[in-house]
Amino acid sequence: MIDDPHQPGSDELQSHLEGEGLNVRDVHGAILREKDDPRDGYEPIPLWLVSVFMALVFWAGAYFSFYSGGFQSDVFDPSQVSWAGGGGAVKGPPDPMVVGKRLFTANCVACHQPTGQGVAGQFPTLVDSEWVLGGDWHGDNHLVKILLHGLQGPIQVKGDTYNGAMPPWKQLKDDQIAMILTYIRNEWGNSAPPITAEQVAKIREETAAQTEPYTQNKLKAIPAVKFESAAPPAAEGGAAPAEGETAPPAPTEAQPEATPAAA
């Protein structure tokens, strides 16, 4: 079965090796007995394989069109921007009912309670409150001012008197305050138009000189302003919700089409 190297090979092999200065006895048996170097067969590529590969190529194109982030260098979430969904349409801004609730839970529940009912005599209720939704002399501007600069001294809410201290929250950003206010105006059965970050920013600028918390009397002296509900632009950080069942009454202006690319 195997060439024996101790037995001189054919004359032809011997003469070839001598030409190279080798003796057939020194050449290892493995080299002499091994099979020819590999050759190529020419079986065709099976059709089913080509079909599978074509299906993969199709999948690749589809995946890319959904998760390419519009090929933008500053889009980091593959599901956020879809090439297929109209050349980089931006998904709607954050839902204030979700973010607002989170901020409310983090900052406000200690006094106003998760139910928004507050504590009798101390922390006023937010439910169906004229301070929150607007009333005889209460405007939306007052609400924003209270959040920015705080409120102290006795106040009347829905006929009950409370005497506590509301700390200023100006360390929060405009859009955060806007989302908290939009949230409390539309939770627990409340219903009022959203507050936008721009409106908060404007009042923050107007009241930059305010250094101490308001009192009820001081606020009463300021004329009430009811924000135009159609005003908020839908730009970044705005309070306008894009989608979602918990959203407050939608602003009237058109929202950019949100693309459910993640689906």
Partner: protein, 491 residues
């Protein structure tokens, strides 16, 4: 080689002339091949000991931690670099040198280039490993070697690449076999990858997040465009060679090669899923990773159809058994890698031992096993001596086959549990580590098996170099020492 042998037209070459050609070619490859193989086996043992130490430290963190140079943060990268560059790359180069000479059908030219490269290479590995242990290591995965070491490796590699181009230029006329495509490509790809990555990360570091992208572009391509082509080239040569059958389909070979070249280089960014990188970059990598299905399945079919009907030979031939084991694990490792690039699954497996198991499936069960197969084939030819002991080969095979099988299984299962625990907000990080403990213990056991297998192999290799035993001309086959009569098999 004399003109009679070299200038004969392929169609007029007789079988006797081919034998004479092979004798001359193998003679010419002796020194460089033994140099690269010998140093590779040395680094395999060193790397195994470092690996064992690192693994034991995960079982018992206080073990040997009184010395800075033996802390986990140094031992683990020292292990990785010693086995990746010292063992796997050197074994791959040794195999590739021999294959290049055989496939170019010309004696190995300029062996001084290769001997110098081997010396540079080993000094580089030695400096690098000591450098990492002494605290000079870089915090860049797969490129931890300090600059004074990586520079030496690059010089060595440059020499080898130049040599490869010269060899290819002076090849005998005739068909260029598929193994040759992979080898030449790998010899050109790797110096490019290695120099670019070192330049951009260590010598003139680029800024910010782009470092992560370059790091994984290199890390994954070292596997995909260096180890994979060499492993596949070896399998493409050895499987049909041992069986004496043609490779199944030239068309599948072409499709496999070009689709690998096209898709693999995009794969690296799938290591960055969830990271601060532009979405398109990561998504392109996810797509390319899944498209790797094409070269992987193509190659798997090509190899499988070549072996089909001859699986009996796996019972006898060490070369074929190691090589086919490796080729099958290539398919397995690649399919697993594809699944890990899918973001929803990556979420579980990322940052867990699952990834470590995958790395060993690729670099060990695929590449290292094929290198063992190649050594079993090539070394008797260049040394001029048959393997002294079939028993040692058998022990080697079962120790490493069971060892790596066990390692991959336990790391995979442990990694899944770890990943699910990490995702569960109700489980603290420290508690998630408890899930890995029993699996890491079993991993250490598998590491002991692997190391034992490596020691057996090193003994076998030393006995071969010493030409132990009596001169035989029949191959050392599994079972031939047990009085069983092998099928006729000329390997």
């Amino acid at each position: 080689m004399s003109a009679t042998l070299t200038q004969a037209h392929p169609s007029t070459v007789t079988p006797e002339m081919e034998k004479a050609q092979r004798a001359v070619i193998d003679e010419s490859t002796r020194l460089p091949v033994i140099l690269f193989y010998g140093s590779a086996i040395f680094w395999l043992l060193t790397g195994s000991l470092l690996a064992l130490l690192a693994s034991f430290k995960l079982n018992e963190p206080s073990l040997l931690n009184q010395w800075g140079w033996l802390t986990f943060g140094r031992v683990r990268p020292a292990h990785l670099n010693a086995v990746v560059y010292g063992w796997a790359s050197a074994a791959g180069i040794g195999t590739a040198l021999w294959l290049m000479a055989r496939l170019c059908r010309t004696p190995l030219r300029h062996s001084k280039l290769l001997v110098s490269a081997a010396i540079f290479w080993n000094i580089g590995i030695l400096l690098g490993t000591l450098g990492i242990l002494s605290g000079d290591g870089r915090s860049i995965e797969w490129l931890e070697f300090p600059n004074y070491s990586s520079f030496m490796l690059f010089v060595a590699f440059g020499l080898i690449a130049v040599w490869a181009v010269i060899m290819f230029r002076f090849r005998q006329p005739g068909h260029v076999y598929v193994s040759q495509w992979y080898l030449l490509a790998a010899f050109l790809w790797f110096p490019w990858l290695y120099s670019t990555a070192n330049l951009l990360l260590n010598f003139e570091p680029i800024q910010g997040g782009a470092q992560g992208a370059v790091n994984w572009w290199y890390g994954h391509n070292a596997l995909g465009l260096w180890f994979t082509p060499i492993g596949l080239a070896t399998a493409y040569y050895l499987i049909p060679k041992v069986l004496g059958r043609p490779i199944h389909s030239y068309y599948l070979s072409i499709l496999g090669f070009w689709s690998l070249a096209l898709f693999y280089s995009w794969n690296g960014m799938h290591h960055l899923i969830g990271g601060p990188f532009p979405a398109w970059l990561v998504s392109a990598s996810v797509v390319a990773s899944v498209m790797m299905f094409i070269p992987v399945i193509t190659t798997a079919i090509n190899h499988h159809m070549t072996v089909r009907g001859n699986f009996e030979a796996l019972k006898w031939s060490p070369t074929l058994r190691f090589t086919v084991f490796g080729a099958m694990c290539y398919t397995l490792a690649s399919l697993q890698g594809i699944s890990m690039a899918i973001p929803s699954l990556n979420k579980v497996t990322h940052f867990t031992h699952y990834t470590v198991g995958h790395a060993h499936l690729g670099l060990y069960a695929f590449f290292t096993m094929i290198m063992f197969g190649a050594m079993y084939y090539i070394l008797p030819r260049v040394v001029g001596w048959e393997w002294p002991s079939a028993r040692l080969i058998r022990w080697h095979f079962w120790l490493v086959a069971i060892g790596i099988g066990m390692m991959v299984v336990v790391l995979t299962l442990g990694g899944i549990l770890q990943g699910l625990a990490l995702l569960d907000p109700g489980i603290t990080f420290m508690a998630s580590l408890d899930y890995t403990k029993p699996w890491l213990f079993l991993r250490s056991v598998s590491g002991v098996l692997l190391t034992a297998g490596h020691i057996v192999f090193a003994v076998s290799f030393t006995l071969l170099l010493l030409k132990a035993g009596s001169k035989r001309s029949e191959p050392t086959l599994f079972g031939s020492d047990q009085g069983r009569q092998p099928e006729p098999l000329n390997v």
